[in-house]
């Protein structure tokens, strides 16, 4: 009974248990938490298989980003709108369990009767260690053989991001007068967008009066009470 087997048993048991939790939990947030648990165990399995980079990446990409997005969506959608807990009619649930079990049996048989593959690739344990570790090995292969696939993957990602933003953008009710900060200008953002309220101005004042003067702002000093008594004189 090597230590490895014990760790493997623990991780896979936890992973499968959490996986069942994802399907069985009534509250979607609980199932999301269960999924986090199962992904951490998946990452542990990856590390056991020597693929630390994938393990860490799995946590960062999946658990850290995608699942957080799912959690955001669950929370943003009003709970009243979520469809009530429904795991299919009793017959359907029983049928799916049976089908699942049969499928699992078939795959099990296929696994047992397969012939083990022999070592074809150059990346043996020692060679990977000599190259500096799993990350370097992946880097080496990815950017040499699969360079094209790498570019296509980046294209897919950009399309995904742009699509998500376009679909998800809410239509604003009142145009917010937000001023984006740019560290480039030491004096804070220099070119102000028209920062005044966007709606029809109270005294229908021409729009350009709203833009803030650019750059250093000074105060107009006056001693004479009759100067600058009309609107707009100081901002000339």
């Amino acid at each position: 009974m090597s230590w490895e087997l014990v760790f493997f048993a623990v991780f896979s048991a936890a992973m499968l248990l959490c996986g069942l939790g994802v399907v069985a939990f009534e509250n979607p947030v609980h199932s999301a938490v269960a999924l986090v648990g199962s992904f951490i165990n998946v990452a542990a399995l990856f590390v056991m298989l020597g693929a630390e980079f994938l393990g860490v990446l799995q946590i960062i990409v999946y658990t850290g980003a995608v699942l957080v997005l799912v959690l955001f969506t669950i929370m943003l959608i009003d709970p009243t709108k979520l469809p009530e807990f429904y795991v299919g009619a009793p017959l359907q649930r029983f049928a799916s369990v049976v089908v699942g079990a049969i499928l699992l049996a078939e795959i099990g048989v296929a696994i047992i009767t397969r012939t083990a593959l022999e070592q074809i690739g150059p990346h043996t344990e020692a060679m990977v260690q000599q190259m500096g570790g799993n990350v370097q090995a992946i880097g080496q292969v990815m950017l040499s053989e699969y360079a094209l696939a790498f570019e296509i993957a980046s294209l897919v990602l950009t399309v995904g991001v742009v699509g998500a933003v376009v679909i998800g953008l809410p239509n604003r009710m009142v145009e917010p007068n937000t001023v984006t900060m740019s560290l480039g200008h030491t004096r804070g953002s220099s070119d102000m967008l028209a920062a005044g309220p966007k709606f029809e101005s109270p005294m229908n004042i021409p729009a350009e009066r709203y833009t803030a003067p650019v750059g250093e702002r000074t105060v107009v000093m006056t001693k004479d009470p009759d100067a600058y008594t009309h609107p707009g004189e100081t901002s000339k």
């Binding site: 109270p202 009759d226 008594t229 009309h230």
Partner: protein, 207 residues
């Protein structure tokens, strides 16, 4: 020679300068006051009276024309009374019988630096045109007037109580007939010592 001189001064009342100098606003003879002169010319029957006291001018106007006169004075290119400093009411119950409330608007012209008080006397229950279309600042002032005196302002976008709770059912406190202690009899906590209604301590006169 002196006669001639007197005649000439009396008949031709044409003011020497342009008629809009600052001194004319502070002259005790109200006929020279530019605002009084203009309003008498444009609103002859709505301009009721003008009073000078401690170097301040008060004009009394017909309540129905309250908003028009304010518009006129604001948009007049020479008067330019464009600033409403304060709008409040005075309950004249003990001072006179006829109209009960005096709605007073302290108006000010920033370019000419002239302060003026415009009063309109209305009776209890009568309403007066609101100044919100003329000056936005009048919004909260009128809400407070309504809250404290119960005066209705026509055309006010959202006339409701501002200082007291919305469900204040005891009327309007700043009226003279509203007792300073309020209507409710607050329970006196040491019941056994009080035989009859005792004077409250802090006003001393059981008011």
């Amino acid at each position: 020679m002196t006669d001639g001189e007197n005649q000439t001064t009396q008949q031709t009342l044409v003011p020497t300068g342009t008629g809009w100098e600052r001194e004319l606003y502070f002259d005790d003879d109200l006929s020279k006051h530019p605002v009084v002169r203009e309003l008498r010319a444009v609103f002859p029957d709505d301009f009721l009276d003008a009073v000078r006291f401690r170097n301040e001018t008060t004009i009394y106007v017909n309540p129905a024309k309250f908003r028009e006169i304010a518009f006129y004075m604001r948009d007049h290119e020479k008067l330019q009374v464009n600033f409403l400093s304060d709008l409040t009411a005075v309950d004249m119950l003990n001072l006179r019988t006829a109209p009960r409330f005096d709605v007073t608007a302290q108006i000010y012209s920033i370019p000419n630096r002239i302060r003026l008080r415009m009063k309109a006397s209305i009776d209890d229950g009568m309403s007066i045109p609101s100044l919100v279309p003329v000056f936005n600042g009048a919004n909260w002032m009128e809400r407070e007037c309504f809250d404290m005196f119960g005066i209705f302002f026509e055309g006010h976008p959202n006339l409701r109580r501002i200082l007291l709770q919305d469900d204040w059912d005891e009327g309007h406190p700043l009226r003279k007939d509203y007792p300073t202690r309020g209507w409710k009899d607050y329970p006196v906590y040491n019941k056994e010592r009080t035989i009859r209604r005792t004077k409250t301590r802090w006003t001393g006169r059981g008011v």
